[in-house]
Amino acid sequence: MEDKKLILKVTDLNIEFHDHLIPETVVFDFDLDLYEGEIVGLVGESGSGKSMSAMAIAGLLDRKHMNKRGSIDYDGIDLLNCKRDKLRTIQGNDIGIIFQEPLTSLNPVYRIYDQVEEPLRIHTSLTKEERYEKVLKALKDVELDDPELVMKQYPHELSGGMRQRVMIATAMIMEPKILIADEPTTALDVTIQAQIVKVLKKLNKEHGTAIIFISHDLSLVEKLCERVLVMKSGYIVESGLTKDIFNNPKEEYTKKLISAIPRIDFD
């Protein structure tokens, strides 16, 4: 791992909500070093602060009612505290995101083509034909069966798995350095999960995109990720190489999580 370049360094990230009378901290001292081209798993039960940390990295946290401390260093820029327009050039260009619920993450009134094309329209000055080629390639990359047809369809005409593929295509079209996958397989059934994970793995290999894979499904994490961070109620309780953690968990909580895995094999 030492030979790889460090692309994202999160240090002492604390997130505190101020929208109630008593401030509530949801993430304590979150640290993460992300190296180029690796896949890091972020596991833990619901409410453990996985998604919040990821949102902070993506720069999607609200600016109001919230107190954030620490730093998220990307390429010398602190994503947590930088100006909004600076953040905007990095968002979309260098960081992509996939959400849990593919039903709500696509805009219902636009065709798939327009949505996948959107980042190109915002960030590049490509011609119409070049954009079309790129969209077509992105949709082929996520292994959609008939990309030309899918382009002309609306989100409600697609199945959950297809929508999630479209989301991945949208997130990957600018070839970002970091892809945040926030429980991308939770809303899908097991066979589709395996396919989506395969697509993610393929994109990771071909484009060298680092992936932060958030999940509470440890069997997927075990197959996909090189490193794992285990979170519980806002703290990172354990982190290290996947095989070490799965073979030799130190924390009681990690042991419990691992013992809860229903075993299935999909390769």
């Binding site: 109001k64 968002q91 993450s105 009134v109 959107e118 915002i122 960030h123 949208t170």
Partner: protein, 280 residues
Amino acid sequence: MKINNYIFVKDISLKKNSLKNNRNFIAGSIIVVFMMIFMLVGMIASPYDPTAIDSSAKFQGMSLAHWFGCDNFGRDILSRVMEGTYATFKVAFGTVIIGTLFGIIVGALTGYYGGLIDEILMRINDSIFAFPSILLALLFISLLGAGTYQVTLALGIAFIPSFARIVRAEFLKAKNMDYVKVAKLMGASDFRIIFIHILPNTYTVLLSSIMIGFNNAVLAEASMSFLGIGVQPPDPSLGRMLSEAQIYLAKAPNYALFPGVAIILLILGFSLMADGIGRD
């Protein structure tokens, strides 16, 4: 089994083109189109000059020469209803445009940004909303003076709060949707997110409230003209004709009947269309 299949197929076809199969919407659009043609004929080929006075034709009943009869000055009621419908339509249309435009801007800003801007704009909104729109329009008229454009402006301002609230509610709902987050992460500007990503998603609610707003505007304009502060004489207006006709209700019932029917048809048409869209 066969019956089941049949029902299933029928359901699908109903869902697919719901607007085409929506009786309310079709009936509404037929009435609206009829009123539009009626209005256009009045603009292009009005049978008589709507303001021309003919003392020999005073209170003439319905005849081939004057289909709807004549009023107390011998003016042709058909021409006046045509012209009055146009005047009413113009005011209602302008009102809805002003109301929707500013309503969308206020609603989008408050709903999307929240915080201080929301507090300030919505409290102003609430205070405007607290007055009945006619009363508010009366207030503006007393400041601006009577007349078609003044009425349009006054009603338009009075209509902003209701549109703003509807749009704000829709934006509050939409701004936490994942597709908005995705758009943000793509680096889309706030302007782009508000007008290109969220606004088109509000169209069902917005469209039917525009239709309902149009109806309210027609009624409000008619009431204002009825009270004598809308369209100024001798230009015809449906509300004004009604108010003049009530004196002669026993003598010339057709004088009150036709402007009234015109108002009813305008409102009925747009109501049915709004209902059709809302049910879609």
